[in-house]
Symmetry: none
Subunit: 196 residues, 4 copies
Amino acid sequence: MMSAHRQGPVRSEAARVAILQATARLFAARGYDHLTMEGIAGEAGVGKQTIYRWWPSKGAVVADCLLDGLLFPEQFALPNTGELREDLATWLRNIFGVLEHPSGEMLMRSLIAAAAENADVGLRLYDSLGTGSTLNARLHEAVSRAELEGDTPVEQVGDALVGAVVMRALSRLPTPAGLPEQLVDAVLGRSATLRP
Amino acid sequence: MMSAHRQGPVRSEAARVAILQATARLFAARGYDHLTMEGIAGEAGVGKQTIYRWWPSKGAVVADCLLDGLLFPEQFALPNTGELREDLATWLRNIFGVLEHPSGEMLMRSLIAAAAENADVGLRLYDSLGTGSTLNARLHEAVSRAELEGDTPVEQVGDALVGAVVMRALSRLPTPAGLPEQLVDAVLGRSATLRP
Amino acid sequence: MMSAHRQGPVRSEAARVAILQATARLFAARGYDHLTMEGIAGEAGVGKQTIYRWWPSKGAVVADCLLDGLLFPEQFALPNTGELREDLATWLRNIFGVLEHPSGEMLMRSLIAAAAENADVGLRLYDSLGTGSTLNARLHEAVSRAELEGDTPVEQVGDALVGAVVMRALSRLPTPAGLPEQLVDAVLGRSATLRP
Amino acid sequence: MMSAHRQGPVRSEAARVAILQATARLFAARGYDHLTMEGIAGEAGVGKQTIYRWWPSKGAVVADCLLDGLLFPEQFALPNTGELREDLATWLRNIFGVLEHPSGEMLMRSLIAAAAENADVGLRLYDSLGTGSTLNARLHEAVSRAELEGDTPVEQVGDALVGAVVMRALSRLPTPAGLPEQLVDAVLGRSATLRP
DNA sequence: TGCTAACCGAGACGGTACGTCACGTCTTAGA
DNA sequence: TCTAAGACGTGACGTACCGTCTCGGTTAGCA
């Protein structure tokens, strides 16, 4: 005989989904620090205790939203044309494009604030952008295609690139023309791409 | 014309200093989000109104602390031996050393949180690490000494370097051996340093 | 030199009065156990914290209402015509008259519930009806006028009379005809009144 | 005609008893207003729904406890030696003895609070002490034995006596020496007992 | 002997109110 | 006129229970 399952009602999937969606909605609309548990509960049509039963804190709910991909806009997806430098530049242009809108800037800063406050969010965000990300996969692919030298520290290049975006977002400075390309140059070397 | 001097006592310098020092103390001890205006007032022996009279928000007080250099530990200073790669690696080793202590990690994340929440802090922090920083000056110096190629996008290299540190701090991951050197390689190129 | 008074703003009399009046209003309208601190605060147009700053509990607020005479209806006043038995009977008729209305019954039971839950209310209520009451004064007066024998245990007679009313209120039974007079007989003796 | 018997298991006597005993235990230990349905369910090892299936409210459960005699301590029993005044005085001494202990005082106030809040408890308590009580029977017996005059309003005397105890309990005042005897004097007349 | 309705324990659910904390504003007395 | 102290209305916190509901498991009586 196998395991002895708990008796009683089971966790409501409807409530879980309503909470995460409400969180994503409010996060995008008001930002992380105007996000409140009571607000989420109200927006989701759920009792506060139902949130606290399954998540220990606001940050943990946001982390789960992140995991479900409810917080990233689609512009954050990395294109893959085969031309690494061009793909990276396009990607950065998209991101800086998002940052030009106040709501996009706020979303980005909210993600950073959430990551700074909550370890779950921090790690999840790092994984989304780092190790487990398409960016890292793309860079490794470039190494195997010999677009990059074999001993390139891929993770560090990724961190540097994303980190630079984070720094610009924190500065609130407008994006100067040419910044995406300069950033690509900064982390890949100005002319370092190897071509066969 | 008669001079129109203000009547009554002027702003108390003692109070201003007490507030900034109390803020720095509590910021380091408890982190940005457990920092409260009432806590600062109590710690500084000052009325709440005295803070609100001169600063519009918690973030603004923290930004002024930053300006006065009350928040950065001394390990954040960039050495200058003339050897750029070595100086950068040493600097990163110091910073990651700070991040290994829980209180150091919290301080770093608090700076990020404050920057994400408050525009003043964000810009001030960016300037401290970017344009107005010793890092940028050092990189420009390296260009003029031909340690770096002339068309290196210096600001972007700085952002990438600092940004990578920020990303690591947000991830809360332990620092693997060799990370400082790999980061230097990532932003300066693995073997790109020009030597005369 | 005399005392060193505290500096700073002084307690708001307007808030105090608004709270007590709101409490009395809600107490009469909804009863003691549907009385909530949030309800009082809302009705009084006051922050919850302003209540908690000055009173430790719901019971304490009610006790202060009692002290200010905001909870007793006017029918609870004891008449004084000089004829003790008749005055007591009239008084009891008034009280049982109040108890016949649902709202009156609820008010009485609410007073009892509040007294049972909170020591302040209990003592205050006992004083209002006992030692410090017009009932006791009236009984002592009757002794001095020789309407009652000199060694009558006046306080105990008062407690018994009020207590009997309390018991009837707790029973929720309708008041049978003649009850007031029977109660007077029960505590003063059926024919014991001394007449000159 | 076909009988319309219910199918399926009948009410669990074990659960009923466990609930009542748990209620009595918690009532005595914590008092009526810290008594919770969840607490009873937990203490009784029973699901909440099993309580709500058979009783509509906390008060109803307490009323059933009262009916089963689970709440009155044995000291509340009225002795019967044939000497009415002495029996009543002994009984009152026992009750005031119980009231001297904090737990006894709380139990008494909890009974009053429960009676004030819940009609079932109120009537049940009144019956336990009034019409259906040994006190009333004892007083009627005294009348038939000519210890009391024939037209004594027995029920009212009983209410007055019990009510006086209730008033003292609500006041939380310590019991002064001689109080039991004075109360007997107050309701039976100082010297009114008829002796053959 | 198997069906099935009603019981049972457990506990998740949408709510209300709790008592606390901090906000940013306002009001006092003293220097 | 500025300062300290701190009361004020506001709003969110995280917790305790409410009364209802939904599970899987158990137990009778009827077929």
